[in-house]
C-alpha cells in the first residue's frame, strides 16, 4: 500500500487561474468528469489581486475588474459542480500511456494520486526578478517583483514603501505605477530599457494622468541600501542596448518594483519531455492546445504570455474541447499537421501546428513596432492590413479552415511594411 488516496477523472486541470477555470467549466459543460487543482487558497490565479478594470470585454462582453472576472468563473464552476481543491500543489505528472496519466498532488487533506485520461496544464507564469536582469548591489528589503508588490497590497493590505521606482513599462509595471500613486506613494520614475514603452496604449496614459516620468532607453543597474533600498543607479543605453558611459545617475527611493516580463511555468511539462518553444518559453502546441505529449493540453500564460485575460480564457475553453475530442477518439484525429512558421518581423506565434480541420486563432507578437503593415500568409495567399503593430500588443488573427486547406506542409506568417 502506498498510503495514497487514489481518485479518477477524465480531465485534471492544473491551475485555477482564468485559463484553468475556463477550461474546467467548459470541460464540465461538455460532460467530462473534471478535477481542478490550485495551490493558492482561493481560485482565480492572479485575478483576485488585479483590482483594476480592463478584464472581460471580449469574454463577458463587459468591462470587469480581476476579482469580478474571477468571481464569475468561480460561480459558474461551483454551479456546475466542478470538483476542485485549493491549497493543492501538483508535485508530479506521469504519462503512462496516451490515455493513462497520473497526477500526484499534495493538499492539507493529504497527498493524492489521480488517474486521468487527459490533463490541461494552466499553471500560468512567474515574473523575472532583479537577479535575472543583472541588477547588482545590495539585497535589502524593498525590492519586489510587480506581482509580489500587488499581492502584498491587494491581497494582504500591506503598503510596501513610499518612494517607488518601477523597472519596466509593460502593462504590469504601468498598472503598479498607478496603484502606488493611488495609494499616495511617490512614483519617481518608470525605467524602460527599450526605446518604446512596453504596455498597451491605454495603460501608457497612466503616466500622464499621474505625472510619472518615463525614461525610455534606460536601465537600472544597481541598488544601494543594506537593510532597505535607499537609491538606484540608472544608465542610458544606445539603440543596441549597450550602456552609454557617463550617463549614470541615481534616483533616491525606498522601493524598487521589477516588472521585467513573465516566464511561462513549464517545469512539470518539461519534466515529462514536452517540447518547449524558445520564443514563447511555453510548450509547442497544436490548434487544440495539445502539447507534444498526446492528451496533455496547455492554456493561458503557460503557453505564451498574453496581454488579455479574455484570450487566456478562450485558450482554456479550446483545450477543454481538445480534451473532449481526445477522450472520444482516443487521440486527436488529424490526417496531416501543417506547421505554422515565423517569417519577417514575427517574434513568436502559436499554435505551432494546424490540423486544417477547424478555424483557428493565431496569436502572435512582432519584433519591432511598424506602421501601415500587411500581415501575409504567402502559402495560402492570405493578406491583412493593419495600421500599426507593436511588440506589446499581441495580434490575434483568424484563419479559416478552407484557407488552411490550401497549404501543403507549412504556412508562414510575415509582417511587412506596405
Amino acid at each position: 500500500m502506498s498510503g495514497l488516496h487514489i481518485i479518477q477523472y477524465d480531465v485534471v486541470v492544473i491551475g485555477g487561474g482564468p485559463a484553468g477555470m475556463a477550461a474546467a467549466v467548459k470541460a464540465k459543460e461538455l460532460g467530462l468528469n473534471v478535477l481542478l487543482l490550485d495551490d493558492n487558497e482561493y481560485l482565480g490565479g492572479i485575478l483576485p489581486q488585479c483590482i483594476h478594470p480592463g478584464f472581460g470585454i471580449h469574454y463577458f462582453k463587459e468591462e470587469l475588474t480581476g476579482p469580478e472576472f474571477a468571481y464569475r468563473l468561480t460561480k459558474r464552476a461551483l454551479e456546475l459542480g466542478v470538483d476542485y481543491y485549493t491549497a493543492a500543489r501538483v508535485l508530479e505528472i506521469k504519462n503512462y500511456s496516451d490515455i493513462e496519466k497520473v497526477v500526484i498532488f499534495s493538499s492539507p487533506k493529504g497527498a493524492f494520486e489521480v488517474w486521468t485520461k487527459t490533463i490541461i496544464y494552466a499553471a500560468g507564469a512567474r515574473e523575472r526578478h532583479a537577479f535575472e536582469i543583472g541588477i547588482v548591489g545590495d539585497r535589502g528589503a524593498g525590492i519586489y517583483t510587480a506581482g509580489e508588490a500587488q499581492t502584498l497590497m491587494d491581497i494582504y493590505g500591506i503598503m510596501p514603501g513610499r518612494e517607488i521606482v518601477i523597472v519596466g513599462s509593460g502593462d504590469v509595471g504601468l498598472i503598479m505605477a498607478r496603484r502606488f500613486a493611488l495609494e499616495g506613494a511617490n512614483v519617481k520614475a518608470v525605467i524602460e530599457l527599450m526605446p518604446y514603452p512596453g504596455g498597451l496604449a491605454r495603460n501608457i496614459m497612466i503616466l500622464k494622468d499621474f505625472d510619472i516620468p518615463l525614461y525610455l532607453s534606460h536601465k537600472v543597474v544597481e541598488v544601494k541600501g543594506k537593510n532597505r533600498v535607499e537609491r538606484v543607479k540608472v544608465i542610458k543605453v544606445d539603440e543596441n542596448l549597450n550602456e552609454i558611459p557617463g550617463t549614470e545617475f541615481w534616483i533616491e527611493c525606498d522601493t524598487v518594483v521589477i516588472s521585467a516580463g513573465l516566464i511561462p511555468s513549464v517545469k512539470l511539462l518539461t519534466n515529462i519531455g514536452a517540447e518547449i518553444d524558445p520564443a514563447t518559453g511555453g510548450p509547442i502546441v497544436n490548434d487544440l492546445f495539445e502539447t507534444t505529449i498526446p492528451g496533455i493540453f496547455a492554456a493561458g500564460n503557460t503557453v505564451l504570455i498574453n496581454d488579455l485575460v479574455d484570450y487566456v480564457a478562450e485558450q482554456g475553453e479550446l483545450a477543454a474541447y481538445g480534451a473532449k475530442l481526445f477522450i472520444e477518439n482516443g487521440g486527436i484525429p488529424t490526417k496531416h499537421w501543417i506547421k505554422l512558421r515565423k517569417g519577417e518581423n514575427v517574434r513568436l506565434l502559436i499554435p505551432h501546428y494546424l490540423s486544417g480541420e477547424r478555424d483557428v486563432f493565431i496569436y502572435a507578437r512582432v519584433k519591432r513596432p511598424m506602421e501601415n503593415v500587411e500581415v501575409r500568409f504567402p502559402e495560402i495567399g492570405k493578406r491583412l492590413r493593419l495600421p500599426i503593430v507593436k511588440p506589446a500588443e499581441m495580434l490575434r488573427l483568424k484563419l479559416r479552415k478552407e484557407d488552411i486547406a490550401k497549404a501543403k506542409d507549412e504556412i508562414t506568417m510575415e509582417v511587412v511594411p506596405l
Binding site: 500526484i104 512567474r126 526578478h129 537577479f131 494582504y156 500591506i158 503598503m159 532597505r228 518539461t270
Partner: protein
C-alpha cells in the same frame, strides 16, 4: 562551582565551540550574538566547501594546515550526528598548462605532509570521463576525494540547536560592547542587554574579532575584509559533479565551478581587498562579477546565459594580520581566548577549532574538564517536504494539515516546514521573526522565482505566529521591514 564561558559570535566557529564545550559538566556556556539569528556573519556567504587541507603550508600557516584536515575528518562525523545537508563529491584541481603539473605535484607533497594520503593525478582521458563539460584546454587534474560541500548556515543552525539541547544559553540581538578585565583577568562582557558575567571569554567575532580583542586591550592584529562574489544559476542548468578548481597561483585558490548541495550551478569567488572599516559591504559589484564570469569560463566554457542567473551574492573573508588563524589564550588577559582571523578554510576547520579551544581551556587555563554522563550528540533535521514520499506526507498530514500545503512553488516547502522552522527559531532564542530565518531553515524563497510567490505567504505565517502586523515582519532583522504600514497608511497620512 561551574566555570562560566562567554562565546562572542554565533558563526560556525562560535557555534562549534559552544557544541564542544556543552559536553562538559563543569562549564556554563553562553553564546552571544549581535545579529537576530545565528550564522549571519562570514559563515553566511561562502563557497561552502569542506576543503581537502592540502594547500596550506604548515611552515607559514601552521594553524590552518593543522586544523583544516582535522576539521575535514571531523565534519564526516558531524554531518551525520547533526543531519547537516552535505555531499562528499571530491574536487578536481585542473591543469591547463604543462607547468601546472609542477604545482599539482607540490600540492600532493604538501597534502602528504598535512596528513592527506588520498590524492592522485588523473590524466586527460580520465578527467574527461569524470567531467565531460570541462574546458577542452584541460590536460589533467589533481583528484582530491575527501573534499565535500555542506550548507553553511544550516550547519550553524544545526550545531546551535544541538548545543542548546545540551544546555548552552544563547543571547541573540546582543552586542558585546565592552569586556570587563580586573587585575589582568576577564570578568565578563558588557552588552546592549546588560552585563554577562564570565570567567572565560572566547572571541569568535569573525570580521569584528580585532575590535573585540581591543575591548580587552589586545591590539596586535587587525582584520580587513576581502570580498568574494558569486553567481548561482537555476537548478535546471547542468553543472559539474565535482568541485572544480583551477591550478592555484601564489595569490589565489582561483574561481570555483561547482554544483552546490541544492543542485544549483555556482561560480565564484573573486577576491577584492576592502579597507578595514568596510566590514558591512556585502554589495555585489559589476566588476567583481565580471571577474568571476571570466574566471569560471576558463574552466567551464559552457556557462548559461546571464538571464539564467537566479542570484548573485557576496561574502567577506576576515583576513588577519599574518594570514594564519589566531587561536590562543592571551597571556596579558587571563581567561581571554582569541579565535580570530578565521578566514578560509574556517568553515572546514571549525570543528577542529572547537577542540583546539577545549584543549586551550584545559592546558593553558588549567580548567579540568569533566564530561557529562549524558550528552546528546544527535540533532534531527527539520522536516523537508521536498524529501518526503506521498505516503509520508499523508502520515504527517494526519498530525497537522499544514504539512500537506506547499507554499514555496520552486523548492516545494510546506507550511508545516515553516511552522517547524518557527518553533526551532524560538528554541534557540530568535526573537525577531524574519523571512531570512525561515529561508535558511526551509529553503523557501531560494528557488527559480526567488520568492515572489512564497514570500507574502511566509510573511503571513510569521505575522500570525508572532502576533504582529504583517508589515512589521522583516526580511533580515530590524530596518528591513517588509512594508511601512497598512495599504492606506499614506493616503490617511498617519504613517509612523
Amino acid at each position: 562551582m561551574k566555570t562560566k564561558v562567554a562565546i562572542i559570535g554565533a558563526g560556525i566557529s562560535g557555534a562549534s565551540i559552544a557544541r564542544v564545550l556543552s559536553r562538559y559538566e563543569n562549564l556554563e556556556v553562553h553564546l552571544i550574538e549581535k545579529a537576530p539569528d545565528v550564522g549571519w556573519g562570514v559563515s553566511k556567504a561562502n563557497t561552502a566547501l569542506i576543503h581537502g587541507g592540502y594547500d596550506d603550508d604548515p611552515k607559514k600557516y601552521p594553524m590552518r594546515a593543522k586544523l583544516c584536515i582535522k576539521g575535514n575528518r571531523l565534519w564526516h562525523e558531524w554531518v551525520k550526528e547533526l543531519q547537516i545537508p552535505h555531499i562528499w563529491n571530491g574536487a578536481l584541481i585542473v591543469a591547463t598548462k604543462e607547468e601546472d603539473f609542477d604545482e599539482l605535484e607540490r600540492l600532493i607533497e604538501r597534502g602528504r605532509e598535512n596528513g592527506i594520503p588520498e590524492m592522485r593525478i588523473v590524466d586527460r582521458d580520465e578527467l574527461f570521463h569524470l567531467e565531460p563539460g570541462l574546458t577542452k584546454e584541460a590536460i589533467g587534474a589533481l583528484w582530491v576525494p575527501i573534499v565535500g560541500q555542506i550548507g553553511p548556515i544550516p550547519a550553524v543552525i544545526a550545531i546551535v540547536e544541538n548545543a542548546v539541547a545540551n544546555g548552552v544559553k544563547t543571547h541573540l540581538e546582543t552586542e558585546v560592547r565592552g569586556i570587563k578585565v580586573e587585575n589582568g583577568e576577564v570578568k565578563g562582557v558588557e552588552t546592549n542587554n546588560g552585563f554577562i558575567e564570565a570567567d572565560i571569554v572566547i572571541n569568535a567575532a569573525g570580521l569584528y574579532a580585532d575590535e573585540v580583542a581591543r575591548m580587552a586591550g589586545i591590539d596586535y592584529f587587525e582584520i580587513h575584509p576581502r570580498k568574494g562574489e558569486y553567481f548561482l544559476f537555476d537548478d535546471a542548468i547542468p553543472g559539474p559533479k565535482r568541485v572544480l578548481f583551477p591550478t592555484p597561483t601564489p595569490i589565489s585558490k582561483g574561481i570555483v565551478v561547482t554544483t552546490e548541495i541544492s543542485g544549483h550551478l555556482m561560480i565564484g569567488p573573486n577576491a577584492q581587498d576592502l579597507p578595514p572599516e568596510e566590514k558591512e559591504d556585502l554589495a555585489t559589484t559589476r566588476g567583481g562579477l565580471e571577474q568571476v564570469w571570466e574566471g569560471a569560463k576558463k574552466l567551464w566554457p559552457n556557462l548559461p546565459p546571464k538571464w539564467k542567473v537566479i542570484r548573485t551574492f557576496a561574502g567577506l573573508r576576515p583576513e588577519p594580520t599574518g594570514g594564519d588563524f589566531i587561536i590562543k589564550a592571551e597571556e596579558e588577559v587571563w581567561g581571554f581566548i582569541n579565535v580570530a582571523g578565521i578566514r578560509s578554510p574556517g568553515l572546514t576547520s571549525a570543528p577542529a577549532i572547537a577542540y583546539e579551544v577545549a584543549e586551550i581551556i584545559q592546558c593553558d587555563l588549567g580548567v579540568g574538564l569533566v564530561e557529562k554522563t549524558k550528552w546528546n550528540p544527535y540533532r534531527k533535521e527539520i522536516t523537508h517536504f521536498f524529501m518526503l514520499s506521498p505516503a509520508q506526507i499523508n502520515e504527517l498530514v494526519k498530525k497537522n494539515p499544514a504539512y500537506g500545503k506547499v507554499i514555496c512553488r520552486c523548492n516545494h516547502v510546506s507550511e508545516g516546514d515553516v511552522l517547524e522552522a518557527i518553533e526551532r527559531m524560538k528554541f534557540i532564542g530568535v526573537k525577531m521573526p524574519s523571512v531570512d530565518s525561515v529561508k535558511f531553515r526551509t529553503k523557501a524563497t531560494t528557488g527559480t522565482c526567488q520568492g515572489s510567490f512564497c514570500r507574502p505567504r511566509i510573511i503571513q505565517l510569521l505575522a500570525k505566529e508572532y502576533n504582529i502586523p504583517p508589515w512589521k515582519v522583516t526580511l533580515k532583522g530590524s530596518g528591513s521591514e517588509i512594508g511601512i504600514g497598512d495599504v492606506k497608511v499614506l493616503v490617511r497620512g498617519d504613517e509612523a
